[in-house]
């Protein structure tokens, strides 16, 4: 039965497992300027540069069609086999040559240049509060940087500019690649959604079956307990618990699991009540089967189809709950989840900066993953009970 949601689920899981390793950037690392829009949007700002010069590549040239970047950093180490006499030369607009660095006495040449350094600015003739990069770059002119003199034998220097644009999804307020954050977030959403739902389903199954099957006073007692739990306002309690317990990921999963098992318990309990009166349960009891045998060998298998649908439908709930909690700031800041991304977008001014690329992807991602699970839950319900399929009549 080809259904789009199963294919989508497979893709999501594949992305969660393989995605982060396929990405080239570490999600926590700042790669470009804050709130850099994605590269495919148009505009004046130039892309980020990330080039390296090495013994095999001592020259870099590029036509620069945009406005000067905010910063440029050149870092690295070159080693030489003999006493070097080399310099790093930048040929700027209009053919002016700037010698950025000169090798020293040792065979290891350490280069550490940042355009924000006052001394660097002074060496270019720029006042302390001026902009060094506007001297080095100019619209529509080539830039060229070269290692002249002795050729190094080993090592590498990296030339980086933050760039006005970055990647497929831009950057956040700290210059981190949003695509990496997003991919990392898939994993967290899935883990939280599935783990929390599994915990709540297991609890719901246990409580529901016991309550429904044992009946009588035990049943009443447990159900009143469920009623009390259902009437607790979840969010304030969660905030208190998070305040006491801390903001870790597993705390979050446990809390979500502990607060959502009640609905499943109710459903399973009514199933158990019906099954308890059925002919074969009476028969099993009368020939002496123990309650545990009946529960384990008969009631649990009968409850599983119901539970399966409940699990797949509960995952969106858990994901949304986690997103909500993260949005309120109640989650671990070291863990990247989509809700957390939205929280930081909200809290750090993405809205005012107009950085839609920070807000839309996590929002759409949450919606899509919820829809996928909802559709899968529907498909599983139909598999369990063919009468639900449209067009099937007795």
């Amino acid at each position: 039965m080809p259904r789009w949601s199963f294919a989508a689920f497979f893709i999501i899981v594949a992305a969660a497992i393989a995605g982060p390793s396929l990405l080239q950037t570490d999600p926590f690392e700042s790669v470009a300027r804050p709130f850099a829009p994605p590269v495919w949007t148009g505009g004046e700002e130039g892309p980020a540069l990330a080039v390296s010069l090495s013994p095999s590549k001592t020259l870099f040239e590029k036509k620069w069609n945009w406005s000067p970047p905010e910063n440029i950093s050149i870092r690295g180490t070159l080693s030489f086999e003999e006493d070097p006499s080399a310099s790093l030369v930048w040929t700027g607009p209009g053919g002016e040559r700037f010698v950025l660095a000169v090798s020293g006495d040792t065979r290891e040449w350490l280069i550490d240049i940042d355009a924000r350094d006052v001394s660097f600015k002074a060496s270019l003739g720029v006042p302390p509060f001026g902009n060094a990069t506007s001297v080095l770059f100019r619209n529509h002119e080539n830039i060229r940087v070269e290692i002249e003199g002795t050729t190094p034998s080993a090592g590498k220097i990296e030339i980086r500019t933050p760039g006005g644009k970055w990647g497929l999804m831009g950057t956040d307020q700290r210059g981190r690649d949003v695509l990496s954050l997003f991919t990392e977030g898939i994993r967290i959403s899935l883990i939280v959604g599935l783990a929390a739902t599994l915990i709540s389903s297991a609890l719901g199954l246990l409580v529901g079956l016991s309550s429904g099957y044992l009946g009588g006073k035990i049943d009443s007692f447990i159900m009143r307990g469920v009623d009390v739990l259902l009437s607790i306002p979840v969010l304030p309690i969660l905030m208190v618990i998070v305040g006491i317990w801390g903001k870790g990921l597993w705390q979050l999963i446990l809390i979500l699991g502990l607060f959502s098992w009640m609905g499943t318990a109710r459903t399973v309990r009514s199933l158990a009540l019906t099954l308890r009166e059925s002919c074969y349960v009476e028969n099993l009891r009368s020939i002496g089967a123990s309650p545990w045998y009946i529960l384990w060998r008969h009631l649990v298998p009968e409850a599983l189809p119901v539970l399966l649908a409940a699990v797949t439908l509960g995952v969106p709930g858990a994901i949304l709950a986690e997103a909500g909690l993260s949005f309120l700031g109640l989650s671990d800041p070291r863990i990247i989840s989509w809700g957390r991304m939205l929280h930081e977008a909200h809290g750090f001014g993405a809205f005012t900066a107009g950085a839609w690329w920070l807000i839309l992807p996590p929002g759409i991602g949450i919606s899509v993953i919820c829809l996928v699970f909802l559709d899968m839950g529907r498909a599983l319900e139909e598999i369990a009970d063919p009468r639900l399929v449209k067009g099937n009549r007795k």
Partner: protein
């Protein structure tokens, strides 16, 4: 002197709250010895299912006394009841609900053996296979099929009979054991049960089919709305029925080529609140029938509860 497998005296079963009581069974007597077969005949609502269940202690008795294998059911502890029930088999009326739906046919029959720990695991499987063959399901392909999904109604019923026979019961109580079978196979089921009776098993069977009852059991008891109206050897009840209701049952059966006869009055209400329960529909009612009749002996092993019996 053999001891009876089952004795029931004046069993009364009532349901309902204090305000509205429904009397499902009113003062019924029953006795089964090893090798005997009794058929309880009655339409739906007559109390035959209730009687079977009361004899097993599955339905609470409001009055009277029932004993299984010599033990008074009302004095038994839970554990003793379990033992008594393991010595007896029960085939419930509804073959859809009475076999656990998640099991295969073979597992369903071997389950009682595994619970009672009677033969060991391996032997239980073999025995289950033997029982399924005995009940007419020799096709091994069916054994692995899940009962709920893949078997027809008739096959399910055979599985539930095999399950009831799993612990080799000394007494079998069967509620409409052939209801799902086609005419051709109905006789086959009754043959299975009859063979067991010949080996000493006692059989109590509830059915609405007077013909089937007389073909399968040596004695018949006719129930009408909770009361016993006639008992006796099955051939006699079919050929010379005494009670007007029994007569009506026999006459209403579509015979070969003749129309069924209707020997009851049509009435708007079925109330026989005072007097004989059947009086509202009885074609032979007299003034005396406003007093409830009781069972009187009218021949060898025959009793009837009627002031005006025929035949």
């Amino acid at each position: 002197m053999r001891s009876p497998l089952l004795v029931a005296q004046k069993i009364t079963v009532s349901f309902g709250s204090a305000r509205s009581q429904v009397q499902a069974l009113a003062g019924t007597d029953l006795e089964i010895f090893p090798g005997e077969s009794l058929a309880i005949v009655g339409e739906s609502g007559s109390g035959k299912t209730t009687l079977l269940r009361a004899c097993l202690g599955l339905t609470a008795i409001s009055g009277g006394y029932a004993s299984l294998f010599g033990k008074d059911l009302s004095l038994c502890s839970r554990g003793e009841l379990v033992f008594l029930r393991r010595r007896s088999g029960y085939v419930p009326q509804d073959p859809f609900g009475c076999v656990p739906p998640t099991l295969s046919a073979l597992d369903a029959v071997s389950e009682p053996m595994l619970i009672a720990d009677s033969p060991g695991k391996k032997r239980a499987s073999e025995r289950a296979g033997e029982l399924l063959v005995e009940c007419g399901l020799a096709d091994r392909e069916i054994w692995k099929e899940r009962v709920r999904f893949s078997l027809s109604g008739g096959q399910r019923q055979r599985v539930s009979i095999a399950r009831a026979l799993a612990l080799d019961p000394e007494l079998l109580l069967a509620d409409e054991p052939a209801s799902m079978q086609d005419a051709a196979t109905r006789k086959g089921i009754m043959e299975i049960l009859r063979k067991r009776c010949e080996k000493g098993m006692g059989l109590v069977m509830a059915t609405h089919d007077l013909l089937l009852a007389s073909a399968s059991a040596s004695r018949v008891m006719v129930l009408y709305r909770g009361h016993v109206v006639e008992t006796g050897p099955s051939k006699d009840l079919l050929s010379t029925p005494a009670h007007p209701y029994t007569r009506a049952l026999g006459a209403a059966l579509p015979g070969m080529g003749h129309s069924p006869q209707i020997l009851v009055r049509r009435t708007d209400s079925l109330s026989g609140k005072t007097g004989c329960v059947f009086s509202a529909r009885c074609p032979r009612r007299t003034e005396k029938c406003s007093t409830p009749p009781f069972l009187i002996q009218i021949g060898a092993g025959r009793t009837v509860a009627c002031w005006n019996p025929g035949g």
